[in-house]
């Protein structure tokens, strides 16, 4: 339990009687990059607001750093940096002035502003007004805001939203470095599995307010279904042959798909020995995106 930095006990949040998240039990390990995934409207932002105390759960408890959020709000928030959706900034102030606001509240040293501006690569434009910044720069400044002080946990809501490909790459590499170089645990939400696949160590999947998967990225990869794709001259007869051997095979998109990958070689041999021309044979697996879609669809049904 000492290694668990975020823990929610079956939290439910209802708006006008309708649940936005239901019986959500999250467990985020210290030093991990936990990606919280779900389609738009799944309840990700609601969960993040519950973790930051901006919303109160209808039922259940939220604990961060082993402390109950209800009773230790200030202590927890002093150790938690956040970026909720678009960065909240004062456009009429400079980047430094924007950081001065949380710095004063956190009672962090003035030099901290230089430190965080360096981390996000904005040290040269610190005195410029935020209204002159591009969206990518604002997003990085929002992240700098979250780094200020002695933050041990970062909660980031869709941190790459609105960034161009270069900005997304930068943000990814920055997030990847956080646990190792800065000792920070990251909890980030996204609706793009392909994106978080490259940075996350752990994943939680949310669908219609319910957690459908939680575990390491390796555990998630193990859930991928594999199949054999066979390209052959006479599909109809080939499927009949494979079925006679007791293998589960079907036609799809001009190929044969067989479920059992362990017998790929045996199927190939049987087909060739029976006079079929096999011009394609491959083993393919579900992408994580497909795994995710299957999970979320099963909840939808």
């Amino acid at each position: 339990m000492a290694n668990v930095i975020i823990s929610t006990e079956a939290i439910t949040k209802e708006f006008k009687g309708k649940p936005a998240v239901r019986d959500l039990s999250l467990e985020v390990q210290l030093g991990s990059i936990y990606a919280f995934l779900g389609p738009n409207g799944a309840g990700k932002s609601t969960t993040i607001r519950l973790l930051l105390g901006l919303l109160r759960p209808t039922r259940g408890n939220v604990s961060l750093f082993g402390l109950d959020l209800k009773n230790h709000r200030s202590e927890i928030l002093a150790r938690t940096g956040s970026l909720v959706e678009t960065p909240s900034l004062y456009e009429h102030l400079s980047a430094r002035e924007n950081l001065e606001i949380p710095r004063r509240i956190l009672n962090a040293p003035r030099t901290d502003i230089d430190r965080v501006l360096r981390i996000v690569g904005l040290e040269d434009v610190g005195r410029n007004l935020v209204k002159t910044f591009s969206l990518g720069m604002k997003q990085r400044l929002g992240l700098a805001h979250a780094f200020l002080g002695k933050r041990e946990l970062l909660i980031l809501d869709e941190p790459t939203n609105g960034l161009d490909p270069a900005g997304i790459q930068e943000m990814r590499s920055l997030i990847r470095r956080l646990p190792g170089e800065h000792g920070v645990t990251v909890f980030l939400s996204s609706h793009l599995l392909t994106e978080v696949e490259q940075v996350a160590t752990h994943v939680g999947m949310l669908s219609q307010g319910e957690l459908v998967f939680q575990g390491s990225i390796e555990e998630l990869k193990r859930l991928r279904e594999s199949r054999v794709r066979i390209g052959v001259s006479d599909l109809e007869s080939a499927v009949a042959l494979l079925s006679r051997h007791g293998w589960d095979a079907r036609r799809e998109d001009g190929f044969i798909l067989a479920a059992d990958i362990d017998v790929a070689a045996a199927m190939n041999r049987a087909l060739v020995e029976s006079g079929f021309d096999v011009h394609h044979l491959s083993v393919e697996s579900d992408s994580l995106e497909e795994v995710f879609l299957k999970m979320t669809e099963s909840i939808g049904q």
Binding site: F15, R49, L52, G53, L54, L55, S74, E97, E100, I105
Partner: protein
């Protein structure tokens, strides 16, 4: 923590219209009064009466009845707009400052801006009187005593607190400018009519400041007590609601 939050609220004022209004709004009033007095200088010189008391009285009345309610409405809306327009509430309230400090510091800033505007109004009116003396040496402006100006303005400053506390809550409660502006304008208009009513005028928050300084108005101390006590209650209720509020 309160002082730290208060300092951040002061920092947010940098380069804002809210800060400029502290100078501009009372100076508009001063200029208006200067122009009126200068235009009527010949009449005032002819009757030989001291021109300072009517100049001061008109300034106080127009400011208290019209300019100040508009100033309070605009200031509270602009200050709330700093958080509303950038959807800054979520990041501000995710900082480790008790929520009451945020509500209270914003209220203190509004009150300070109002009182600063009053100081500008007083200084500007004295400057305007001095300039009128130079332009029209025959205009009887006496020795321009400060008591008839400063004492009522102090009373206005204190009795305005109830309206400020209510308008502050309205501005922070609804994120749309139009709600706060509409509320403030309607309250100002009702206040203008309510001043005439002894039964209603002594209780309606937007009528209290002018009732507290009108010549002959009875119970000025009672009005001051009502305004201060009401302000404390309104600020406390507003703060309680703000602390409990969910940020969706």
């Amino acid at each position: 923590m309160f002082i730290r939050v208060l300092l951040t609220e002061c920092l947010k004022l940098k380069r804002t219209l809210a800060l400029w209004m502290v100078l501009v709004t009372p100076l508009v009033m001063v200029l208006l009064q200067f122009a009126i007095t200068a235009k009527r200088a010949n009449v005032l010189m002819a009757n030989g009466n001291d021109a300072w008391p009517p100049m001061v009285r008109q300034t106080i009345e127009v400011w208290t009845l019209l300019m100040m309610p508009m100033f309070v409405t605009l200031e509270t809306s602009l200050l709330a707009g700093l958080e509303n327009t950038g959807k800054n509430w979520k990041s501000l309230l995710a900082l480790p400052a008790p929520r009451w400090t945020i509500y209270a510091s914003k209220l203190v800033v509004t009150i300070t801006l109002l009182w600063a505007a009053h100081a500008v109004l007083i200084a500007g009116t004295i400057g305007s009187g001095t300039l009128l003396k130079l332009i029209h040496p025959n205009l009887n402006l006496g020795h321009m005593p400060l008591d008839p100006f400063v004492v009522p303005m102090l009373r206005v400053s204190v009795t305005a607190l109830l309206a400020v506390a209510i308008q502050h809550w309205v501005s922070l409660r609804w994120h749309s400018y139009s709600v706060a502006l509409g509320f403030g304008m309607v309250a100002m208009l009702v206040g203008i009519f309510a001043v005439q009513s002894n039964a209603f005028g002594s209780w309606f928050p937007w009528s209290l400041p002018i009732r507290a300084v009108l010549n002959g108005a009875s119970g000025q101390d009672r009005i001051t007590v009502v305004a201060v006590a009401g302000a404390v209650v309104a600020a406390t209720i507003g703060c309680w609601e703000f602390v409990k509020r969910e940020i969706g």
